[in-house]
Symmetry: C5
């Protein structure tokens, strides 16, 4: 539940020391390059990172995707070639970053969290994506977990669908951002279904397990919120075009992404309020159940204690107990007993305990 940040490995080291702090991906890192302009597309997967260097000065838009940041040497070489600040490289490797954006002279560094929807019974998987946006390139770094959400973007570049081939690298960066954010809605839908199921369970047969589900769900929501909340700011300041790398035509699209992050936050907020309402219902249903248990006990005790007392009285061995000699004594006791029992039941009926 509580992520070990791995930050502690770095205590005392000079800044810019490149240490990978995430889980060691075992797979071989995969580097793909897509280079395009309005007329042409070129796509390939390379083995050595050096093959990327030629794209640095090509005027066409280049998207380099490095899937597997645990290969520190690759990240370092790439950084050296493109001239990124050591702190940027450090942040790329450190996979517990908070979403943020940093404007350097001629490139912008963006960190965000990609959420995968896996099997519904599995927890949400989170993968850090770093984007570096330059005037003619976007470099994206992934942690190397299986799969990503960028295939539709690749498809659009290949087919030339939409504006993407006509626009610059900033539009590509926007598209990647947008795709990540759009994916949050899948997570939200899954959450919405979970909330519905929880509500139903709560109303029909609440149990201690329900509470634990609520708790687990709340913790999940906390981590999703931590991924989304700072992104709002990131997208917001990109949209304010604080760097000349963002062209005016892209601004309006970024505003759109901004709206989407707000919608995500809104939905999370709504779920949070619903969950806290559920907790109240859960606690009150426990109390209600205690109440109904106690009513059963009280009804039983209230009926049988007087009756047992009466039976006890006529079980006494006094010599002079005239009732014992009566011919109808015994049936009379049964009558009294039945009378008391029935009147008690009527009493409880009227008190709405039955």
């Amino acid at each position: 539940m509580v992520k070990r940040t791995g930050r502690s490995k770095k205590v005392g080291l000079p800044p810019g020391t490149l240490i990978h702090t995430g889980e060691k991906g075992t797979a071989e890192p995969k580097v793909t390059i897509i280079d395009y302009d309005e007329a042409t597309v070129q796509e390939r997967e390379v083995k050595t990172i050096e093959e990327c260097f030629v794209f640095r000065d090509k005027p066409t838009v280049t998207w380099i995707n490095l899937d597997g940041v645990h290969r520190i040497d690759m990240v370092e070489k790439l950084g050296d070639c493109f001239g990124f600040h050591p702190l940027v490289l450090e942040d790329i490797l450190n996979t517990v970053q908070r979403p943020k954006m940093e404007i350097y002279g001629d490139y912008i560094y963006i960190v965000l969290k990609m959420l995968h929807v896996g099997d519904p019974s599995h927890p949400i998987e989170m993968e850090q994506v770093s984007l570096i946006l330059g005037s003619n390139f976007v470099i994206s770094f992934q942690e190397g977990k299986e799969g990503d959400v960028f295939n539709p973007v690749r498809e659009r570049i290949r087919n030339g669908k939409g504006l993407i081939r006509k626009m610059g690298s900033d539009y590509l960066a926007y598209t990647l951002l947008d795709t990540v954010v759009d994916n949050y809605f899948l997570i939200l839908e899954r959450m919405g279904e979970a909330v519905e199921l929880l509500e139903e369970e709560l109303l029909t047969h609440p149990s201690h397990r329900t509470l634990q589900e609520i708790r687990k769900f709340r913790n999940e929501m906390i981590s999703v919120r931590r991924a989304v909340w700072p992104l709002r700011e990131v997208v917001g300041s990109l949209g304010r075009r604080e760097s000349p790398l963002i062209r005016e035509t892209t601004e309006i699209y970024l505003r759109d992404v901004y709206d989407h992050t707000i919608q995500v936050m809104d939905a999370l907020e709504t779920y949070r309020e619903m969950l806290s309402g559920m907790l109240d219902i859960y606690l009150s249903s426990i109390s209600n159940r205690l109440n109904s248990v106690m009513k059963v006990l009280t009804i039983i005790a209230t009926i049988f204690m007087p009756l047992t007392f009466i039976a006890g009285i006529y079980g006494m061995n006094f010599k002079y107990m005239p009732e014992l000699e009566w011919r109808w004594g015994y049936p009379a006791v049964w009558l009294v007993v039945a009378g008391i029992g029935i009147s008690m039941l009527i009493y409880f009926k009227k008190k709405k305990w039955l």
Copy 2:
């Protein structure tokens, strides 16, 4: 309860792809045009969207109302003719927008939520309304649910009541906004009645159902607040006249709408505080009921346990039990029993348990 946003249909598509994400309205879309200036009014319902195009350049104020945004083709054609940005058209079709306002060069795009008051036993129905305000037109898009709240506005245009015929398109947009907000007060009144009923129920016969009512009501309030809260900002920035499309004379009216949205928020806030107070009362009434059940049990047990013990004693079969031989032994036991019982009752009376 949790709205499926339908956003997930759009994951991975290029921005500006027109996909309708709401429930498919089945009805045929209805397009009505009202064109007026101070002297003349012309009103008609058209079959094809192309009939609207002539109004684009007419100097008179034109109000085009398209009821049924699931007809993507109509929206698209209209957008093409009037030159709206693809993202605007996308937002019009996406019916889970948050209320917002966006200023484009020569038009303003406004999204808001219309709340219908249906049958009191039904949940509040929410319909997204998009307004596009140009210098000489207002185009409104509705989801195509049955009925809208704009009939009084149509009536006022027809009769020339009030200022509406003398003012421009911005005043028409204001009037539509105002009508939607005014309708919120109907919802508020209905809510106020519901709160009163809940309070009464809570004080006379609180039950688990009451709690669920409170919860349902709270969820309803959350969604109304989500519709109203961002509207405040929308109306506020319209009132600050950030676009030249808003004339100075209209500013004061927008300030008035702004006041109304604040009144709505205020009332919602008050209801929220009252509901949370109700929850406390509900929980304490459960505890009180438990207390009173336990008192009954304790009284019964405290009275009959000693009595049964006494009866038990004289039911023993010891050979030498002198009391058993006494002539008045049996009546004496009854006396003792009655004495204990009555003193117990007095004790409980004094402890205020009876």
Copy 3:
């Protein structure tokens, strides 16, 4: 409790439509005029609203007080004569306004809530007061409920006590504001007494009624806060002299009123915190009482169950039960019974249950 706002009467009407939304005051409206400068005072009650018109252009300060806004015609005529905006007149008639201030060219419109202290057992009565401040007049509109809090002001004008006769209309408006705010302190004192009584009741004999009192009191506080909170802003922006109608000499007095409204908010906040503390105590006192009930039950059961069991044993009819034949068997049982009972009592004494 929940005020029906009456706003719904207005849905769909054009802005500026004059409709009175409060309770219909039945009394005949009362119009009083006080006209004064440093040297002279003239005071009279008029029958027709037209008699006020002559004061519009008199250089002396004129205070017109219209008690009874349900006479729409009067408000309208007055508005026409003095040239007020239709929305102002609408707001005057609509008695569920939130306190606010609006600056128009040559007059300022102020709405505030006057709180009456009636009989202590009655709820606080709220009356909307609208003030319109012009360069040489103040017009005040009241709802027409019985009584107001302005008599001391009238007295001061008549006697020329203090600065009031030497200053302009802005000082008069300040004086009316100040008087309304000063009256809030009476309400606060009454609330303070109520809080003290509640605390005492809570500590000596808390009951379900106490909780309902707390709730009622909290609801009352919510509505007072709604009346005071926006007033802070109103007085604050008056004090910033955003309109030339407020002279510099008056500024310092408005700062004083501002301090007072903050004091009122402070006190309300303190009461709120005290009430929430009371709720905790109430809930814990219920739990404590349950605890003590359960202790009584447990003590009784723990003592008498073993004893009854022993009596039951010797009530068995086995042929061979040697104890039954013993000479001292019966007294021995009594000894054992007494022994068990007393040791139980000692045990509970030590556990502090007795």
Copy 4:
């Protein structure tokens, strides 16, 4: 607990009317004057307020301390001589002010709350101190309660310790402020001890009294916070040197006082969080106790009910009950009884109820 503000005495009076709203101090007011510059000190106690007037225009720094603001005449004469605004005099007399600062042309008016540490079993005593800082004088007004916290300042002036004799009146005002704030730390320490005691009591033997202590303590904290919180702002804006009366050399010292007020607020906040944690523990300890009471009851009932039933069976008077004739029937019953009892105890042991 709830302070009667006494404000209600003033309702309807013109502003600037001098009415003392605190408790009437009975003691004769004491006026002391300390006049000093770097070379000389002159200190004396005067009988009539007129003796202060000569110091108004002396270039040396003069500190006039008036202990007993219920002598309205003295305050008024002093105000007349030094030319203070009537509202300032009104505020000095009104001892329920909130800490604030007001800059007038050639003097600054500061209100703050002095907290006395009396006997630990007594509540904290609060006394309002008003300071008026002019270019060559500081006048301080106290309510006339016994004792003040300024003696160390007097001592420092007499001895010329520290900078005080070398600096101007602003430094003197700072010193007085600083002394009052330093004294808050004494209160904080006392509170810290109280919190520790409460924690210990809570963990060893929580009772309803503990809860009331927590409540009392919380109310005390609320009133201390009300005294300190606005002071932060006061000191902050003094430090921003919004008036030329504050010299640059004093600025840095005011920043120091500002830090101290923040430290005080911090500590109060920490106490508040600790108290709210205590409440949770208290409530859970009540529930735990209920649990343990119920366990005792359940254990007793579960053991003795079956046993009593068995004894009851063999107390029946059926003619044909073979067991009754058995030679070892009675001992067998005892064996069964012991077996059931012991196995029950083992069961409860395993369930950790014992």
Copy 5:
């Protein structure tokens, strides 16, 4: 738990009076000097503070570390030599400062809290570190508790690893800050483990002790937050380069530290939310346990009370009780008893109480 601030020792003393308010460190203070530029490093430990004075005007970067601020004389001499303001010296000695930064003409004063990770069973140890950054020196003051976190920095200076030897004093100050903040992550990891353990304990065998652990942990978190929260601001304003002492090249590194402090705050916030969720689970598990206790009691009572009543009936001594004479009366009773018992068990099974 509640720190005695020791501030009260200072009440009434003039500002700048040097009094040490922390615990008296007993160890001899240790003064170490490291003086370096790109080419040379010189490191030594000195006995008398005067040996530091020669470094004041050397152009190389000098780091003087004084471990043991209880030696007031040393602090004072150092302050005199370097010309620090008396209030700075006072704050260095006063070890209950809040993290803060103050810009003086030619030096910057920074206070922060160093957190030591000791034995996991011990509470977190906090030590105040004061840094004074001048153009060519950094002076650090520690409380003199054993150990510090700066050894890696010393190592880096000696070895010339990283940039440190190439940069100025501001980079050294940054490095010290960074090291302190990096160390917070160790604390966070330890906290994360504690939270995990608490969660597990809560789910498997929650006890009153768990609650106390939660409370202790929360109090620890409060104090860590108090150390970190204001540091955010400190690092933030350093990063905004409000003083020329911070060079542009260092700015980016400070931004990095800023991110780290935000990450720390984020994690603390997450822990806080998780803890509050745990509390809900704890309280509900208590209620659940009460419920299950009560069910046992109710089941036992509901089964045996009717049975005991039946046995009581046939223990009565009436002369005419035909059943007693029946041959199969006794076995019939057993049948009835078993029947009632079994049907009760089935009933409870169906109610899911078993």
